[in-house]
Amino acid sequence: MTEVAAAAPAEIIPAVSARGELPAWRLLIRRPSFLVGATMLLFWVVCALFGNAIAPHDPLAQQLLSINKPPSAAHWFGTDSLGRDVLSRVIVGAGPILTVAPLATLLGTVLGTALGLAMGYFGGLLDALVSRLVEAVLALPAVIVIFLFIVALGTSVSTLIIVIGFIFTPLIARTVRSAVQVERHLDYLSSARLLGERPIRIMFVEILPNVVPTVVVEFTVRLGYAIFAVATLAFLGFSVQVSAPNWGSDINSSYGLLGAGYWWETLFPALAIASLVVAINLVADSIQQVVSE
């Protein structure tokens, strides 16, 4: 039962493997899907940071003489029902969504990782309680829960971040917990205990580095969900500033005009949301594959 023998064919073990393991980023940039996703993501990040400088027009400027104009040389994506340039609104609209979603996901990841480490390491009652809580959260559609909180607390950027972050916390905790439980069976934890290490140190110094890949994957996957949730809330009318460019609320204010043939006012913000989610999912998938190799 104990002898472990030669198995993998090509695995001729050198004293010190010259290449060892390739750094993760080098494995990542070899993947076409990562490159495509990262390029798209980078595009939107640039838009979010420098939107007002890039946008060809002022996204708030209303030109009441040219409302609902189809795409043209002057307005590539056309104009909306108030005569605002759709392209400029799409570009600048990356800003709010790429502020709220990453911050909310980061909050959820930090809290969820800490909770997951504690659940996985201590087990017992804490684990049982939080596990039930996770199941309760999973049973409810996240957007409805967020919706309820926002109705109760009012709309502000920080409310959005905190509410989405809290919703994500138990979900991320659950994933981290199962990664920690795999680590728990490894002897290096016994070894650390035999040195008299404290639980906090064992969790954060010994275990955490080993579950970081899981955490990174979880962050990227959740980020995709967060983008979607923020856009959905904006569509439902829960955006911070009503007139500011925002993909979700722009779709909301223009989709009634689809029947009149003004498709560009809805299509381009919708494509923006889709491309951002696809970009993040491509990146998330690539990271997951590199991690699990």
């Binding site: 064919p9 090509a10 393991e21 070894s191 035999l194 008299g196 080993n210």
Partner: protein, 701 residues
């Protein structure tokens, strides 16, 4: 196997050879010539096998030995065309019973795998489908071979009987996870033999099994081979197993077959320096840590795909000359049916050692006060099956500076004992554990820094025991800071001396475990264990995950460190040869109880407890002197429901007819000074019984 059996077997084999030589017509079971296998890794071709040629005659058993990475499994995969997608046969030819698998299309290949070649792998658990009953999986094999359903069921049952499963009905109704490892491997072997293949490939078939179970499976394979007229390709890293099972043997090193010939000759008079080195790495009778030391092979396997101008072994060879480095040696004929790829094959018998054979080690004082005293040490786990007594009232002392070897089958409680001693698991109420006469806290939470310092462990698997995200420097420094309380310059000095004493180099400090070889990883683990200046180090199977050439170096390192640091070892191993090499005293554990304890030489030379006798006789030996196998009936009983009386009576070959063994548990009594045994049979009677068997054996062989 008795001596008479062997004799008739040898006659039989001799006759077959003679017939083959006369006719020379029936195709060989397997013929491999000048085989090259290449793996394409990151856009570059890497040669995994080079110029491998060998043949297996009908009803012949051929052994392939080599360390991990030598290409043993690649040979098996190439033969059945199961190479990974990036691997291909780049040169040479294969012929199985006269057919060429390399030229086959898919349906022919299926037919070949269904009827002509069968494989048995290391892990029986992984070879069986966990969601199908055993009977259904077996029947499938017969159905593929053309039987209808009823016939398939009947033939499955017959086949299970053939692999000595006494209750085939129950086994066929069971799911694989309900079978023990030995039972599952029998089922796999039965399935492999179902189609009566011309060639059976066994890839480390007993490596995952206990020695007693291994012995049974090996006997079974040997018996079936004669009965079914099947040729066997036996792949193993274990030279003793190969020596026991095979007529001929080939030694693989870095993808090349460096020596080949009849097994007995190759192991008795190896003609290649690598084979010589490999054999010197295995502890044999009479070798101890202080005299007749194991010799390690210096250096490491060449990097895969690394091209050498000359002999692949030259960089590690103590007798390499310029010629060896200039051109690769051809296969020299060095006797009837023997080849060696060495220019200096005539000079291998006098191969210089890389380490001195004899060293003086301080003998542990036979002191009165033991360093560790265990009294009524018990551990009961509660599971679905009820209360499981993993350890039941163990009384054991460990003397200062000695090595206590702890042996027993898996499930005997070895690891539980170690964990209780270390405090990783809390012992049951009423257990007493003391260190230097002072009681030890029941678990780590109740122990102070001094107690933590005193007890450390080297785990079996360094991959699991070392945090893979930390560097070697961090791994070794931590105990120095935490337990020895060192910092700054003092820490750096101690780190340097510790690294040197486990024979590692400064450049290794910046690396992470994944960048180290198995042996180096275990050295890091050893350095960690010694970092705090321990009194007692538990070695839990420290070499069983390592290759033999590495094992020898680690064992010698442990012996030297013990002498230098004056520590006490609790050495746990299932490998009796290793235990014997290193231990001063032995304790034999069975179902959580001590069966026998005493000085190593006494316990090994006998008279010994019937269980010890069975364990010893199950171990295949390289020495040629075959002991009568004391067969153990069945497998270790469940600790949840231990047998009445003497717990060993259900499997004991020397059970008394009076019935006392079933009714009364024998006390652990001192039968000779320092030698304790738990058996109703008096020592003198055991001596008579065991010497009779031994003399029988001597006259037969």
């Amino acid at each position: 196997m008795t001596g008479a059996d062997q004799a008739s077997h040898a006659d039989h084999a001799g006759a077959t050879e003679a017939v083959n030589a006369q006719l020379a017509a029936p195709p060989l079971a397997l013929q491999v010539s000048h085989l090259d296998v290449t793996y394409r890794v990151r856009g570059r071709d890497r040669l995994a096998l080079h110029d491998v040629s060998f043949e297996i005659g009908r009803n012949e058993s051929y052994g392939l030995v080599g360390e991990s990475g030598s290409g043993k499994s690649t040979v098996a995969l190439a033969l059945t065309r199961y190479l990974a997608r990036n691997g291909r046969v780049s040169a040479g030819s294969i012929s199985i019973s006269g057919r060429d698998p390399l030229a086959m299309d898919r349906s022919e290949l299926r037919d070949l795998r269904a009827r002509t070649v069968s494989m048995v792998y290391q892990e029986p658990g992984k070879a069986l489908n966990p969601s199908l009953r055993v009977g259904r999986q077996m029947a499938e094999v017969f159905q593929v071979a053309g039987s209808d359903k009823a016939e398939a069921a009947m033939r499955s049952e017959a086949m299970l009987r053939k692999v000595q499963i006494s209750d085939p009905g129950r086994v066929m109704d069971a799911y694989p996870h309900q079978l023990s490892g030995g039972m599952a491997q029998r089922v796999v072997i039965a399935m492999a033999l179902a189609a009566n293949p011309a060639l059976l490939i066994l890839d480390e078939p007993t490596t995952a099994l206990d020695a007693t179970v291994e012995a049974e499976v090996l006997d079974l394979v040997a018996g079936l081979r004669d009965e079914l007229d099947t040729s066997v390709l036996f792949i193993s890293h274990n030279l003793a197993v190969i020596a026991k099972m095979c007529d001929r043997v080939g030694v693989l090193y870095a993808g090349e077959l460096i020596e080949e010939g009849p097994a007995s000759q190759v192991f008795e008079q190896p003609r290649h320096p690598y084979t010589v080195g490999l054999l010197r790495c295995i502890p044999r009778h009479g070798q101890r840590k202080d005299h007749g030391r194991l010799d390690a092979i210096p250096g490491f396997l060449p990097q895969p795909g690394h091209k050498l101008a000359g002999c692949i072994f030259a960089p590690r060879c103590p007798i390499a000359v310029q010629q060896c480095r200039d051109a690769p040696p051809p296969a020299f004929d060095v006797g009837p049916d023997r080849t060696s790829r060495c220019y200096r094959h005539d000079e291998t018998s006098g191969l210089p050692r890389s380490t001195p054979a004899d060293v003086s080690l301080p003998t542990p004082p036979t002191a009165a006060d033991p360093v560790v005293r265990m009294r009524n040490l018990s551990k009961t786990f509660t599971s679905k099956a009820g209360q499981v007594a993993a350890l039941a009232g163990v009384d054991l002392d460990i003397g200062r500076g000695e090595t206590l070897g702890l042996v027993g089958e898996s499930g005997s409680g070895k690891t539980t004992l170690a964990r209780l001693l270390l405090g990783l698991t809390a012992a049951d109420e009423g257990s007493q554990l003391s260190l230097d006469g002072k009681p030890l806290g029941r678990d780590l939470a109740h122990r102070g820094t001094e107690e933590l310092r005193a007890l450390q462990i080297v785990f079996q698997n360094p991959d699991s025991a070392l945090n893979r995200r930390h560097t070697v420097r961090r791994l070794i420094s931590r105990p120095l800071a935490k337990l020895a309380g060192l910092s700054g310059v003092a820490l750096r000095d101690r780190l340097a001396s510790l690294v040197a004493s486990v024979r590692m180099e400064e450049r290794h400090l910046a690396l992470r475990p994944s960048q180290l070889s198995g042996g180096l990883k275990q050295r890091v683990a050893i350095a960690r264990a010694f970092g705090g200046g321990p009194r007692i180090v538990v070695c839990d199977e420290p070499t069983s995950a390592l290759d033999v050439s590495v094992q020898a170096a680690i064992l010698n390192l442990l012996a030297d460190l013990q002498a230098k640091e004056r520590v006490t070892y609790l050495f746990i191993s299932h490998d009796l040869g290793v235990v014997r090499y290193l231990s001063d005293r032995i304790a034999v554990l069975y179902l959580g109880r001590i069966m026998e304890t005493g000085p190593a030489e006494r316990v090994f030379s006998g008279p010994h407890h019937p269980y010890t006798e069975a364990l010893l006789s199950a171990v295949p030996s390289l020495d040629g002197q075959r002991r009568t196998r004391i067969k153990l009936a069945g497998e270790i009983p469940s600790a949840a429901n231990p047998p009445s009386g003497c717990v060993f009576h259900t499997r004991c070959p020397r059970r008394l007819s009076s019935g006392i063994c079933e009714s009364t548990e024998p006390p652990l009594a001192e039968v000779e000074p320092g030698h304790l045994m738990s058996c109703h049979i008096p020592l003198d009677e055991l001596r008579v019984m065991q010497s009779v068997d031994a003399s029988d054996d001597n006259t037969a062989s």
